[in-house]
Chain length 361, copies 2
């Protein structure tokens, strides 16, 4: 078992990574402070892992399960309200612990529910997808979508524990594995060139689901992310580099409708756009963009805008992105492989050109 | 103008109290950091004070107003969602400031919207009722009701400024003035016996809306509350004494339906119940209960349960109150006038007797 700490003062918490963690009750028992638990999961994950998780829970007075519909389309305030309904019907109090068993959607909603239920109760992340193990379960961003924008409603709220059982990756559909790899590649691009090179050498092992390779990739991704989050928990500065590719990616997800492109797929295309824009600004060479495209290609990830999506659609959605400050679009761009920074001074013409070079019409 | 500080480290903020503050732009201008503002108010307050508030705003790029329906019945997730809709339609970004202009319901919902919009934006409280000036605008409790319980969904989220213009109390209906006085009396009961005596001597002036008496009562109430909140922001201990009378009061509000009894009226009756229970435990004399009843009577406030409300109804609703920990009912009781404490060991029989002595059937 690998163990990392996210260092956030009194809100610090461990990430445990490895095979077979789900049914080992000693892990969960240490971090459940009361005698009430509510497990939130979805209809896809529930038949696969719920029983194993329940086996690993300590003795409690009250254990409930909420099964949500599966998919980004359900990441709404209404769905979170179903969690509140259950908690209140079953009289969970302030000492309850919510356990998120599933991917990023389940984790984001459960974390937000925990942040808001009786103004805050404990929660534990048990991510079961690569994407959630390397990204969304770490760092405390929780929330839901709004018809007019992704993740527009939410809270910064840290879990007490992240338990990443790498065995769960075995059941992941290929497309979702690849989508998770997009975020893994992101860490290489923004802050860890050595990891990027490791990925160039080991992509085959990851796609073959080699247990050691997966565990290493999850650990190193979490390390990279935890270091950035520890520096800037509430994203007032450096944390924004984690959004590399995401402003473009969110535009793709918004226009395609949530759930049609997977988040990681949209981020993959978005990273190419951000890299291409960095190249047009003269900050990186064409070789960096090429290496990114090649690595995404190996993973079977998209490297361009969806068919038919227009430059105008990108610009419109990006104007309400959270990264817009005082009317100026702030984008995460590259200064080199493994070196990202936030820029607020991108000329519109360059942005349009980068979008066109990446397939927007 | 009177000025207090709520001391919460980097989340500290001032409370400004006095007549005529609403239209003085220098106060708001200092605490609005961006160039976007969204004022949230309700249909009752809007015609009275919105224009004056807008006059007092600094120059901005974007000023919007959201007018909500009036009343506790609308303090729901759906109503908060209307604020999100407006913010997103009008493309407010992370630098926006929400201004809550109204009573506690507007303040609680606006604060919660500010806590959740893009994971947190600035907000300012401009309370226009006595209740919100002395209680809900101070301390950072925000949230909404759920059909199964009051204030069950929310966040601790501090404003950047509280601007309490005592001129707004002139337009307050008599019943709402009295409801606010209930919370004022509460501070005397739980932590400020000297203030309780002042209230016994000056209730007539308050009911006549004597400007000096009102400003003094608001200031002293805010001082008392700020001291308790500074000690225990997230209510892990002492802050709970501010809930004196509230566990009973919430039961009344829940059973009567939100909005039929005003919050302050329910708290008034609830305080008598808590005092009566303290007497039955032998912790205070009958004289303290009598002085409380008398002072509430002077203010025209209820001193007993609503007609027909049963002991069973109280017990059922109280079982889901946030103050329930590990299945034990935690109640704020008195050790003396001006001295409250949290008790988790009240025998059920005494509780039933106290409820019966206070009119529950």
């Amino acid at each position: 078992m690998r163990r990392l700490n996210v260092e956030l003062g009194e809100r610090s918490y461990p990430i445990l990574i490895g095979p077979g963690l789900l049914g080992q009750s000693r892990h969960l028992a240490r971090y459940i402070r009361g005698r009430q638990v509510c497990v939130v999961t979805n209809e896809t994950v529930s038949p696969l892992y719920l029983a194993r998780l329940l086996d690993g829970l300590p003795e409690c007075d009250l254990i409930d399960t909420v099964e949500l519909p599966d998919g980004e389309a359900f990441k709404t305030l209404e769905t979170v309200n179903r969690i509140f309904d259950r908690l209140l019907e079953r009289r969970h109090n302030r000492t309850t612990t919510l356990v998120a068993l599933g991917g990023g959607v389940v984790g984001d909603m459960t974390g937000f529910a925990a942040a808001c239920y009786q103004r805050g109760v404990d929660f534990i992340q048990v991510p079961t997808t690569l994407l959630s193990q390397v990204d969304s379960s770490v760092g405390g961003k929780t929330g839901v979508n709004h018809p007019l924008g992704k993740n527009m409603i939410g809270a910064f709220y840290q879990p007490r524990l992240v338990l990443a059982d790498t065995d769960t990756l075995a059941s992941l559909p290929e497309r979702e594995l690849a989508a998770g790899i997009a975020e893994v590649i992101k860490y290489g691009m923004i802050c860890d060139a050595g990891f990027f090179e490791w990925l160039e050498d080991n992509m085959g092992r990851l796609l073959d689901r080699d247990a050691d390779a997966l565990a290493y990739a999850v650990e190193r991704s979490c390390q990279d992310k935890a270091a950035v989050v520890a520096e800037d928990e509430r994203e007032s500065g450096r944390r924004a580099i984690l959004n590399f590719g995401h402003t473009f990616g969110h535009a793709i997800e918004t226009v395609q409708g949530y759930g049609n492109w997977l988040h990681g797929e949209a981020v993959a295309a978005g990273m190419v756009m951000a890299a291409e824009l960095s190249r047009l600004r003269g900050d990186i060479g064409a070789d960096v963009v090429e290496r990114l495209r090649a690595l995404l290609g190996l993973a079977g990830l998209p490297q361009a805008a969806p068919d038919g999506m227009t430059v105008q659609q990108f610009l419109e959605v990006m104007a309400v992105d959270k990264k817009v400050l005082d009317g100026r679009l702030r984008l995460v761009l590259l200064c080199g492989l493994g070196d990202a920074t936030v820029c607020a001074d991108t000329p519109r013409e360059l942005l349009v050109r980068a979008l066109e070079n990446c397939g927007a019409v």
